[in-house]
């Protein structure tokens, strides 16, 4: 469904993505793990059209989308939940969802938009209770749910999730991941998940890529990656052998 071929990207002189190639098939949950600053978020931003691709190509459903602007890609069914819960703080939850659903509004009108918002309230019931509250006053977990709802509201086929677990209580992380898993089961949503919390990410994912300083260094099924010595040492916090191992 998604294919990156030798993608390179720079911030000024800094070469952030170095020949990154990866693919995600329809219905898969794929995770991209790696240390802080490895280029994971940049990879997502390059896919969603926020970060320019300087060399290489990106394909989505066999169509080239390299450097297509973000606002057009949303209409093709790619949605990104950006890092750090980037919701519109000074606006109410309802306003946030309406803005998130601009595409739905332009395609299906007012009724379509409010049906979609109702759907999001069913997915995250807490948002319904909070609908008239300013988004900036929500708790971290609620903000993340709102951010995800704003991405899901246009019924994307492909969801890019950037660090959804950042700064959240484990229980909320679990709830968010279970919603993602459910959407995959029920609607065939395809997910590319970027995480520093490699453990949680590999548990929910089918496959994984490991990124180091802008390069993909490993690619395997999630269960194999979890057993991989190198990955365990670097990302799963198991640097020395337990006494019974």
């Amino acid at each position: 469904m998604l294919k990156l071929v030798n993608v390179n990207s720079r911030y000024g002189l800094i070469h952030v993505l170095k020949n990154v190639s990866m693919h995600v098939s329809a219905g898969e949950i794929v995770t991209l793990i790696g240390a802080n600053g490895a280029g994971k978020s940049t990879a997502l931003r390059a896919i969603s059209g926020l970060q320019p691709v300087h060399e290489g190509k990106i394909f989505f459903s066999d169509k080239e989308i390299t450097n297509a602007p973000a606002e057009k890609l949303v209409r093709q069914g790619i949605a990104q939940v950006p890092e750090g819960r980037q919701i519109f703080w000074p606006m109410t939850v309802m306003d946030n969802l309406e803005v998130g659903g601009v595409v739905t509004y332009s395609l299906h009108g007012k009724k379509g938009l409010y049906d979609a918002i109702e759907g999001m309230f069913q997915l995250f019931p807490i948002l319904k209770e909070r609908q008239n509250q300013y988004a900036g006053t929500l708790s971290g977990g609620e903000q993340q749910m709102l951010a995800i709802a704003m991405a899901l509201i246009n019924r994307p086929r492909f969801l890019l999730l950037d660090e959804p677990s950042m700064g959240l209580a484990p229980l909320i992380v679990k709830e968010i991941f279970s919603v993602i898993a459910r959407l995959r089961e029920e609607e065939g949503l395809t997910v590319l998940l970027v995480e520093q919390n490699a453990n949680a990410a590999l548990k929910v994912a089918d496959r994984g890529y490991v990124m180091e300083t802008g390069k993909i260094v490993f690619e395997d099924t999630a269960s194999n990656l979890m057993r991989n010595q190198e990955v365990r040492r670097a990302y799963l916090g198991k640097d020395k052998r337990e006494i019974w191992e």
Partner: protein, 301 residues
């Protein structure tokens, strides 16, 4: 006016004058804020929008003899179009936009517009008839021009329209979203470029309205833009950049303080008052009376 009337009627007279001037500063300040919110840039051509509004209105009503409502509408459309063209031809094509570069472009555009205004309308000042007669109304010994009521009323309509637009329409909400967080807005499918264009259109339209309603009182000429723009800018800064209600409040404050200074001290110092307030506010509260320092720091292009 100083030889007639009691202290109260003098005060009232100055207040009316202050409200009338303040409304104009408020409108100009709002214009600055709309563009600032969408681009992080101060549009120094804002004063020129006001001049074009005033001069176009003069031409349409005094030369072409159109009715005032029709001329009003056409003038606003005309200046809005100038705003759109300005964005499309001078702001949008900039390859690596940064705030300084864009601000310098707006200065260039303001010089260009000023020159064009001089070519088309000449150097003289232009008289325009009042909207509904110029017979003053007597209120507690002070005189109130009907035009002043028009000015305050139109400001009120613009402010209400503004609130409705930004809080209750999808386009308005999208514009706000784009101002708050451009990346997140783009991910939601909002074309940020179009929002910037729209902000220039709105801002030019509001500038035109300010020019139209003030022209019967001040007699517009092509050089008026600089000072009106400066005071409006002061209002936007004192109100807290980006905060449109702050701009309205600060604009009113400027107008009233100016009128009081002119009345009670000397009209020579009138123009200095607004700038003095601006300086004091910048020293004591650089984020403006109604602005928050955090918001100012977080904003970027």
């Amino acid at each position: 006016m100083d030889q007639v009337g009691s202290g109260f009627s003098d005060f009232l007279q100055f207040l009316f004058m202050g409200l009338q001037r303040g409304s104009i500063y408020a409108l100009v300040g709002m214009g600055y804020n709309i563009i600032y919110n969408s681009t992080g840039v101060i549009n120094f051509a804002q004063g020129e929008f006001v001049v074009f509004g005033g001069l176009m209105m003069v031409t349409l009503t005094m030369t072409a003899n159109l009715s005032i409502p029709l001329a009003f509408l056409l003038t606003v459309l005309f200046v809005t179009l100038i705003g759109v063209l300005m964005e499309r031809f001078t702001i949008k094509p900039v390859k690596n936009p940064n705030v300084l570069r864009l601000i310098i472009i707006t200065i260039a555009v303001s010089i260009l517009l000023k020159g064009m205004a001089m070519c088309f309308w000449g150097k003289g000042s232009h008289y325009m008839r009042h909207f509904t007669g110029s017979d003053p109304i007597e209120v507690f010994g002070a005189t109130l021009l009907p035009q002043t009521l028009w000015i305050i009323g139109i400001l009120a309509v613009v402010v209400i329209g503004f609130v409705l637009f930004f809080n209750h329409t999808m386009i308005g909400k999208s514009m706000r979203a784009c101002a708050i967080n451009r990346d997140a807005a783009r991910l939601a499918g909002i074309n940020d470029r179009n929002m910037v264009m729209l902000s220039f259109a709105l801002s030019a339209g509001i500038g035109a309205i300010a020019g139209i309603i003030i022209t019967p009182i001040i007699q517009m000429d092509y050089t008026r833009g600089a000072l009106l723009g400066l005071k409006g800018f002061g209002a936007a800064v004192v109100g807290g950049l980006g905060n449109s209600f702050g701009a309205v409040a600060a604009g009113m404050l400027f107008g009233i303080m100016e009128a009081m200074a002119a009345g009670y001290i000397s009209s020579h110092y009138m123009d200095a008052v607004a700038l003095l307030i601006l300086l004091i506010v910048l020293f004591i509260r650089p984020s403006g009376l109604f602005g928050s320092a955090d918001a100012a720091r977080l904003r970027e292009f």
